[in-house]
């Protein structure tokens, strides 16, 4: 029974099936709303599902210069890491797995999809992929620092004298004392997190690694068929995971205790966050250069996160 529950958690509810469906839904809504913002009709909301199924039906070509095992294994590794991440993140009140240092594990797990993209791209042997992976690495370094500061600020606020890295305790704290976004000291951290989400997912102003108009989707250039489908699904799943992580860290006070209602609220929150921090920014900005992205994250965003950290440490 215990094992069945774990299997269910990984394969169906907060894991694989749920996060896949949510990812496809969020990216469908993102594309539709973006089109409406540009006065277009836009694709149907289930368009990402069509794209996914179509790519499954295409021939998979492995380039001669590529390392076959690494080339085909990389997307699967990224997918597996994302499924585990999704199972770790609480759906408002509902929590599948307990742990005492979730945030640290999450920090490592969140880098795996990006590393999988880097490994897959570098094994394809394409020069455009080479440019793409170097950019992906710089992007990763730029958003990692603010993300660590945000996690530390939240951990300090919840833990008090000791740091608290457990997501269950963060959720419990918020249910008792209201959402963390209500604390003055954590508002800069929440703003920084909203700016980290698009870089982590890789949407418009921060999609330098996959810039399709200049380096032809970078690391993905040689991928076709099913591996490409998995990589596209990974990007969609990241949309759900990052927005869910935001609501777990800052909006946990909205939990009602009824699982079905919590899931519904979570879905609505994720849609709202996607529209705020991905679609709107995408619609009004053009792609940054890689050095500008790096500078922006290590000054503005890291500054916001560090400000929050200092305020929390001073006891506000």
């Amino acid at each position: 029974m215990e094992y069945l529950k774990i299997l269910f958690n990984i394969l169906v509810f907060p894991g694989c099936l749920f996060v896949g469906a949510m990812g496809l839904l969020l990216s469908g809504i993102d594309r539709k709303v973006l089109a409406r913002m540009q006065k277009r009709v836009g694709p149907p909301i289930i368009q990402p599902l069509y794209d996914f199924l179509k790519l499954l039906g295409k021939e998979t070509i492995v380039p001669k210069a590529a390392n076959r095992k690494v080339f085909l294994g990389a997307p699967v590794v990224g997918f597996a890491a994302l499924v585990v991440t999704a199972a770790l993140i609480p759906v408002l009140g509902y929590r599948a797995f307990e742990g005492s240092a979730d945030l640290i594990v999450l920090l490592y797990l969140l880098t795996i999809p990006a590393v999988a993209l880097i490994i897959g791209g570098s094994s394809s042997g394409n020069p455009y992929a080479g440019i793409g992976i170097s950019r992906e690495m710089v992007t990763m370094m730029s958003y990692e620092l603010p993300l660590i500061c945000i996690f530390l600020a939240v951990a300090k606020k919840v833990g008090g004298s000791t740091l608290c890295f457990s997501l269950s305790q963060i959720a419990a704290y918020q249910q008792a004392n209201g959402s963390l976004i209500g604390c003055v000291s954590l508002i800069p951290a929440a703003a920084a997190m909203l700016l980290v989400i698009p870089a982590e997912v890789g949407t418009q102003p921060f999609d330098v690694a996959e810039a399709e108009t200049e380096i032809l989707e970078g690391p993905l250039i040689e991928y076709s068929g099913a591996p490409l489908a998995v990589f596209k699904l990974n990007t969609s799943m990241k949309m759900y995971i990052m927005t869910a992580l935001f609501s777990a860290l800052f909006l946990g006070g909205l939990a009602t205790g009824v699982t079905a209602l919590d899931v519904l609220i979570q879905v609505l929150l994720c849609i709202a966050l996607t529209l705020i921090c991905m679609t709107t920014i995408h619609a009004v900005t053009a792609r940054l250069k890689i050095e500008h992205l790096f500078k922006f994250y290590w000054t503005v965003v890291a500054g916001l996160a560090a400000l929050s950290l200092v305020l929390v440490w001073l006891g506000f």
């Binding site: 694709p43 295409k58 070509i61 993905l220 040689e222």
Partner: protein, 148 residues
């Protein structure tokens, strides 16, 4: 059932790859016009892909100069099955005003198959949309033929 869903999706999400084989840029601009808010082909799921590996429909424009012929064939070899070839404008079909030139290999059907030919000099965006939509129907049939 999954195979049927995949065949249906094949029609709903065709990604375009555009090859310019010495075109005057007229047809290329009209193809891009289809992606603008006025015509918005994304409502049918069309998307411009950067790499031939992602392509479902290869759009060829221009009279195929001797220099670009080899590149065109090499590009087509890189596209994963099933895919369609759509020619844009009169140039790839007949050579148009360049016909008879020593550097033009005009009728494209001499070296590859053509699924849909869109006529015009330049093509109208409405004609491009109609042609591309027809190509998606052919794509679906090709995928269904692969199932058998």
């Amino acid at each position: 059932m999954i195979k049927k869903a995949i065949a249906n999706s094949m029609q709903k999400s065709p990604w375009l790859y555009h090859v310019n084989t010495g075109s005057c840029n007229g047809c290329d601009i009209e193809l891009v016009a289809c992606l603008t808010p006025r015509y918005d082909v994304e409502r049918f799921g069309f998307k411009l892909a950067g790499s031939p590996r992602h392509a479902d429909i290869v759009v060829v424009s221009g009279p195929i100069t001797s220099q670009s012929k080899e590149r065109l064939l090499r590009t087509l070899e890189q596209v994963p099955e099933p895919y369609c070839i759509v020619t844009l404008g009169s140039c790839p079909q007949s050579g148009n005003v360049f016909k008879g030139s020593y550097s033009v290999e005009a009728p494209i059907d001499k070296f590859c198959h053509v699924d849909v030919a869109i006529a015009g000099c330049t093509v109208k965006p409405e004609a491009v949309i109609a042609g591309l939509y027809k190509a998606t129907e052919i794509l679906k049939k090709k995928r269904e033929a692969m199932n058998k």
